[in-house]
Symmetry: C2
């Protein structure tokens, strides 16, 4: 059993904790919070041992009626791997502490790439992460792009990818963030940092990204163009992407017209927290014109990195192969959404057409 | 076992179906959909028998790969009670069909009050609904107001209630609704219809309502003033409302600052679909100035009527008392949220202060 601690039980941390707790080969030792707020209460309700992220706040937790098992230092003494899910930049401040406790650490994509020995995405760089003493799981957007570009590059070759990222302004509980009533270039410079971040995973793929922010909270939306080396049919690209376990093809005619309906569907199929771990690609948007592929995909910023963190733990702490780890993660969480309506009407399936 | 059918498996219907399926004394016979969309897929995935709401669409379901058990008429022949969860106005069109099948029906609050023998809210009018052949569960906003005003009127007497309803524009999946970037009077006439609808439940409570719509999807927000006959302390009102099983007092200091955080908390404590079945009252907003009580409450428009529908089924089909039905509903669903942080710091509890 790999003993895992999660430092920072916020949007990502609470989901990583649930995912770790669901793994047959992992033990969630505990999670940290900086203050006894509703998130800390949620951890206690789930039966997770709570640790104070800041030493002198133990009394504050006790006073609020949420007992803690110790401090961050105590947690680090009890684990084989720590997953840092703190806000961007705090991971960098935490690094010396992890190193002092000699605990291999996994950081999130809000940190600079040089915080860890390697950046990580299970589809794009699992084997390349072998032997690292620390890993950085790339951001939700970079994860979504890596999952898409890796199979396209392997199968057809990517000459150049150009992507516009229409990013959500904040998470659903982040009341104070903007923008409101505007779509703002962010950064205004083009290309944005997302393309270079993809190159931390796929160094040989030529990709430029332009990023905007919109007044929405549910998901990011990517408008993707990839100029391929070959000229596959639209159908072939649909089948290729449909075969990826962490890509969900949103079926035509299902009535899913945006992020709101997508998350409604996620709840309908029983996803905890309405989470969508997969890239969500609108099937009918997939179009090939000559060597140019176009599509829209949505990325759930709260969720898509969660299975990646689980795989990163195995890459760091075990000899499991990529295939073994991904299969185990997907099986335990239920990753690999496949709509019953995908072949509705038997429009595309030769097998069904023979029925 | 009460055999129940749900006609209309949308925002409310899917939740009522789950709630009925969770009752030890009820059997969910099946649900209807008008077309084989993602919602229909969700019903099939949950193992619910699907019925075509429109007779000549059976083939359409079959072609989409979602087999149906029959049509609405077949469902009505197999149930003791039907819960109509169709869009507003469709219930009225369905009424002759239910009557032709001699099936007692429960309608939703979007229908006119005269569609049924009585309007229903478990807290306000359970016993008054006895002997009815059909019931109408009042709307989410009226439900929220009835739950609040019933205990206040019983305990202190209500001289007059004045409420501003800041309503959500649409549900999360309703992409096409407004308003965007505006708060609009709706209706512009004051008082709105909500006050008279409360009087369908509490005929003797004097209440005026003014309604707005805002560009949000998560919850309605009520700004409430109630002039009471007596002058209770703020503390006494907090305790009164805190003792109501379908009122959740949002604790001070928990970091819950709006509907986004509220729904995040609901997911943290394991609520299916992030649902909040209770009125959510900001504890620190509760203030008494002389005989004037003020508070803010949020109402989850997708969820608060769900336990009410379950109780309405028992009121229509059994001899269970209000207390028996409400206790059974709350126990089976887990209604009655009570934060571990409610008495954090022992600031208010005399018992805790003695510790």
């Amino acid at each position: 059993m790999i003993r895992v601690g999660v430092n920072g039980y916020g949007t990502i941390g609470k989901r990583v904790a649930d995912a770790v707790a669901a793994q047959p080969d992992m033990e969630l030792v505990g999670v940290t919070k900086t203050s006894p707020n509703y998130g800390a209460e949620g951890a206690v309700r789930r039966g997770y041992d709570l640790y104070a992220a800041i030493d002198d706040r133990v009394d504050e937790f006790e006073a609020a009626g949420l007992g803690v098992a110790g401090t961050l230092a105590d947690l680090l003494d009890a684990v084989d791997v720590v997953v840092d899910c703190c806000p961007s930049g705090v991971g960098e401040r935490n690094r010396p502490t992890y190193e002092a406790h000699d605990v291999p650490a996994i950081y999130q994509g809000g940190e600079d790439a040089d915080i860890a020995d390697a950046s990580f995405n299970a589809r794009g760089s699992y084997e390349a992460a072998r032997g690292a003493g620390s890993l950085r799981v790339v951001s939700c957007n970079t994860t979504g792009l890596s999952r898409l570009l890796a199979p396209l590059d392997e199968t057809y070759g990517v000459e150049k990818a150009r992507v516009t990222l229409v990013r959500r302004g904040g998470d659903p509980s982040e009341t104070d963030r903007g923008p409101i009533n505007d779509v703002v270039p962010d950064p205004t410079t083009v290309p944005s940092h997302h393309g270079p971040d993809v190159n931390e995973i796929l160094p040989d793929v030529d990709v430029d990204t332009a990023a905007l922010r919109a007044p929405v909270t549910a998901m990011h939306t990517h408008s993707v163009n990839v100029t391929l080396d070959e000229e596959p049919s639209t159908e072939a690209v649909r089948d290729l992407l449909g075969g990826e376990s962490r890509v969900f093809l949103i079926p035509e005619g299902a009535g899913i017209d945006g992020a709101g309906a997508l998350k409604d569907y996620a709840a309908d199929v029983g996803r905890p927290r309405g989470d969508l771990w997969e890239n969500c690609v609108w099937e009918e948007s997939i179009s090939v014109e000559g060597r140019d592929l176009y599509l829209f995909q949505n990325v759930h910023q709260e969720a898509d990195v969660v299975p990646e963190n689980v795989d990163a733990i195995r890459a760091l702490a075990t000899d499991a192969s990529r295939a073994e780890s991904v299969a185990r993660t997907d099986e335990s969480l239920g990753v690999g959404l496949d709509s019953l309506l995908s072949d509705g009407g038997a429009a595309r399936s030769p097998l069904a057409a023979d029925d």
